[in-house]
Amino acid sequence: MPEIFVAPKKIEERPKEKTLTPKKIPSLPRGEKQATNPFSAFAVMPAGIRFETQEEEEEIVLILRRHSITNLGWILFALLLLTLPPFIFPSISFLEAWPEQIPRGYLAVAFVFWYLATFGFILIEFIMWYFNVSIVTNQRVIDIDFFNLLYKKFSSTRIDRVEDVTFRLGGFIRAFFDYGDVYVQTAGTEINFQFLAVPHPERAVRIIIDIMGEEEPKPE
């Protein structure tokens, strides 16, 4: 019997894989200069820096760290630790404050330990500042936090999921040194980002908004 109607075969559509869409490599944001200082807390398109999950076509546009002035507290403390032993240890020796029964070797070990611990303290404070970064690429916003030596948090969101970028700058010291907090709000249940005490928050917000603008579909 001839078939009157044959239903067309359904072509199964494979679900599109969620991949990062390749974006064009950005040019230098307007009004910004490329960062050359490796210790910069506000580095625009820094050369020679990569991060763990960076894609091939992904380009770092901005790296933010806490403003350098926020390190002043531990730097002063470290200077104090470095300058104290030349005063403390000789005075213990010369003033005969060291009990005769205790061998002098303890004094030498204490002296070396003091400087070693101070060096360790400076190293920890420096790496905790240097490696706690917020990164803006042409595809994503990334926040890398090391809360202490043993705990790491890596969070990222695609730039097209960013809904709002705001900043807060308040207080005399923050206004004087031009640093503040940048808040990146994302769509839905995704986490929001806080870049705390970063330099030039206004410029950072402008750069992120510029990248978001490049991502928005243009009207036909």
Partner: protein, 78 residues
């Protein structure tokens, strides 16, 4: 050796032996901390690869070597 003899031997030792053991334990803990610091610095430099990363790892290695040196110094001069 009877328990009384053991106690008598311990009591006859200088108190500095106990202080030395305490110091060496403390320095051993610091040595462990220095090793953790080196390992963590290596992890951090893998997360963020910068030009100065090898220098930072080298500094952490110097710190560990310093801790080893101090531990050995304490073993011999205390």
């Amino acid at each position: 050796m009877t328990p009384e003899q053991i106690i008598a031997t311990i009591l006859s030792l200088s108190p500095f032996y106990f202080i030395k053991i305490c110091c060496l334990t403390l320095l051993l803990l610091y040595l462990t901390f220095a090793f953790v610091l080196l390992r963590q610095t290596q992890v951090m430099t893998k997360v963020i690869e910068a030009e100065i990363s090898p220098t930072i790892v080298l500094l952490a290695l110097f710190h560990l070597l310093g801790a080893i040196f101090l531990f050995l110094l304490a073993v011999f001069i205390l």
